[in-house]
């Protein structure tokens, strides 16, 4: 894979289930060290980097560092782990390799990482309706190889976090797959943007606050406090969106298409996006020949849901990477969309 995707690959591999995003933020901090005018972490854990502009207001860019994952709720006598999911569809978990761990900054004694596999009752032993219905979260457990509870407790504590183990790889047709593209894609675009502003010595018209938010998948709590503190005059949320560009979905219900540029949100369950900013984004894209598309079908929600309602209100734009299979172990995006979104964001910041 070419160098362009090294950063996103690193971020995709990083461990960052909702509530335990430290590893992701450490990578970002290292990347932007010395580039931003100010870098700080707020009380909830949002990492915020400021690039000062010419003073025409405050633009907030937001991407969330957390990924869908799970939490260990109990260690059973046989040494297997019971879990509760955050944002994961339990039907797609069985048989997946996972990693469980925690961080001292989260109150754990030490940084831990333990590998395991999601198991459920083998097909041979299933009775009743078990064979004909999808697994529920309570049917699943994680096997880390421990012999019993005492053995498991050497590696894992209830309250530890977990996520999938997925390698970042290139597919045919310009597609790339990996875990946590939602929303390491947005994080990578923001890091690239900071680097670009510095390498090109661009001073944006407004102060730009790059908010790498925490806990999006669990109810947008990070963005809520970040936006209150930043008090932006406008905001751009960078996300990954489901696309539903697959065979059985009729055209009218598809959200967006891979390779056709960033999906500009019109409305979702949490936000009606600023019509002025939406129109502006399409105009800018057209002017510079950058691909972008409307996010058509209305679903989901993003950090914009709390940002636009902050204080006296914030006009907000949403740009998402079209992404297949989000909220599963592996999501797939198009390499050209990464360039399109980076380009569009640069122009939106500087105009």
């Amino acid at each position: 894979m070419d160098a362009k995707f090294e950063l996103l690959s690193k971020l995709s591999h990083a461990f960052g289930p909702t509530g335990c995003e430290y590893e992701v933020k450490d990578i970002i901090k290292e990347e932007i060290e010395g580039l931003a005018d100010e870098i700080y972490t707020d009380r909830l854990g949002n990492l915020i980097a400021v690039v000062r502009g010419k003073g025409e207001g405050r633009l907030m860019l937001a991407a969330h560092t957390d990924e869908v994952g799970f939490m260990i709720t109990n260690i059973d006598d046989d040494g297997t782990l019971r879990i509760d999911a955050v944002g994961i569809d339990p039907r797609v978990m069985c048989g997946r390799q996972v990693v469980v761990g925690n961080d001292p900054r989260n109150g754990a004694k030490e940084k831990t990482r333990v590998y395991g596999i999601v198991g459920s009752k083998p097909i041979h032993l299933q009775g009743g309706d078990e064979g004909s219905r999808a697994n529920r979260i309570e049917d699943l457990y994680i096997d880390i190889g421990a012999t019993d509870r005492g053995d498991a407790e050497k590696y894992v504590q209830p309250g530890d976090y977990g996520t999938f183990v997925t390698e970042f790889k290139e597919l045919a047709g310009g597609l790339i797959m990996g875990k946590a593209i939602d929303d390491r894609f947005g994080c990578a675009v923001m890091v690239e943007t900071i680097k670009w502003l510095r390498s090109e010595k661009v001073t944006p018209p407004c102060d730009v606050y790059f908010a790498f938010t925490v806990r999006e998948e669990n109810g947008l709590s990070g963005a809520r406090v970040a936006a209150f503190e930043i008090n932006p005059t406008k905001a751009i949320v960078l996300e990954a969106t489901a696309v539903a560009d697959i065979a059985e979905v009729p055209d009218s219900m598809r959200v967006a298409e891979l390779g056709k540029g960033g999906a500009i949100s019109l409305m979702d369950r949490a936000t009606i996006y600023s019509t002025e900013l939406v129109n502006h984004a399409f105009e800018v894209a057209k002017k510079y020949g950058i691909k972008c598309q409307p996010k058509r079908y209305v679903s989901g929600g993003t950090d914009a849901g709390v940002i636009h309602r902050t204080r006296e209100g914030v006009p907000t734009l949403g740009i998402s990477a079209p992404c297949r299979y989000i909220h599963s172990a592996t999501s797939v995006f198009h390499r050209d969309d990464y360039d399109s979104v980076c380009q569009l964001v640069r122009h939106l910041i500087t105009e």
Binding site: M253, G313, P315
Partner: protein
């Protein structure tokens, strides 16, 4: 009142696209308020200075948005697919004329094979008369808003039916109250809010700006006086409805008591309202900053969120009088 309502009805304001009606409201209030402002989300806040040395901050709110649709897709044969904005009842909306924000007209119909129990966004389209995508795209764009076309029917006994009564009737009540209000001691911030129908989002930012001590919304409420309706004491023609509770808010008892007292003292017909489903801007105003004493005066309405929302103009007048009497007491 009818003239004002017609103007408000004709200025389409589907949630997120409220500018046209805000222009009408701004023009109506011109000369009756000390200051008129629009905020980042589009709320219009009209300020009237009180004569007290230590005025309290009283916030009034009626939502200016209406339920409608957003264009999501244009089919090869020129049919336009939409998604709902706010609480659309598909059954109540089908086979209706639809007006887009640029004035283009169409009709909302279900797919020919749609069964009534499957009614939903996936099964509906707007036929704008075009026979292919290319000609349709010249008239309508993805992201454009639309609503069931406005209408206002004058019925017997001083009653009216049409849409969007919810909540342009509340806007009309506040506009009329601002026009009639002469002497008042408290500072009044009269907010015409955006995006109520998608979760009282405008009221949240407007009340952050105002930070009210006292807040009163004006919205429509359901009634229990029609065949087959749920048990609800509120009825059309029963007077201004002083809200006690709905599913979004428990009104502050002080304000319920005070509004009741003012109605009694001034001979204004009133009734108490407990709405078991639905919410209003009061919920956000009550939670603004450190909280405010919050209530709501509702216009009793039948058939809410249909094209024939109905109210009694005598109740509307009672609401106006209750606002004016409360604010000038």
């Amino acid at each position: 009142m009818i003239e004002l309502l017609k103007k408000l009805f004709d200025a389409q304001s589907v949630s997120g696209g409220e500018s046209p009606v805000m222009d009408v409201i701004g023009a109506e209030l011109c000369g009756f308020c000390d200051e008129i402002k629009r905020d980042a989300l589009g709320n219009l806040i009209a300020y009237k200075r009180g004569k007290s040395q230590n005025p309290r901050r009283i916030m009034l709110a009626a939502h200016a948005d209406e339920i409608g649709f957003l264009v999501t897709y244009i089919e090869d044969k020129g049919f336009v697919r939409v998604t709902p904005i706010g609480g659309i009842h598909w059954f109540a909306s089908c086979y209706s004329p639809v007006k887009f924000e640029n004035g283009v007209m169409g009709v909302l119909v279900p797919d020919a094979d749609a069964k009534i129990n499957e009614y939903g966004a996936e099964k509906f389209y707007v036929d704008i008369g075009c026979s292919d995508r290319e000609s349709a795209e010249k008239l309508v764009k993805i992201g454009m808003r639309a609503a069931v076309a406005p209408q206002l029917i004058e019925l017997a006994g001083g009653r009216i039916a049409g849409r969007p009564l919810d909540d342009k009737i509340g806007c009309a009540v506040l506009i009329e109250a601002m026009k009639r209000l002469k002497e008042h001691s408290d500072d009044i911030y009269c907010a015409f809010t955006v995006q109520e129908e998608v979760g009282c989002r405008g009221a949240r930012t407007a009340s952050y700006a105002v930070m009210p001590d006292i807040s009163i919304a004006c919205d429509v409420t359901g009634v229990g006086d029609t065949p087959g309706s749920k048990h609800m004491a509120v009825k059309l023609g029963g007077g201004a409805a002083i809200k006690i509770k709905d599913s979004s808010v428990i009104c502050s008892p002080e304000i319920v008591a005070e509004l009741t007292k003012v109605a009694e003292e001034n001979g204004i017909k009133y009734q108490h309202e407990i709405l078991t489903g639905g919410g209003t801007d009061t919920s956000q105003m009550q939670l603004a900053g450190e909280g405010s004493v919050a209530g709501c005066i509702s216009v009793p309405s039948r058939y809410i969120h249909t094209a024939v929302e109905m109210c009694d103009l005598a109740d509307v007048e009672a609401c106006v009088q209750l606002f004016v009497s409360y604010l000038s007491r």
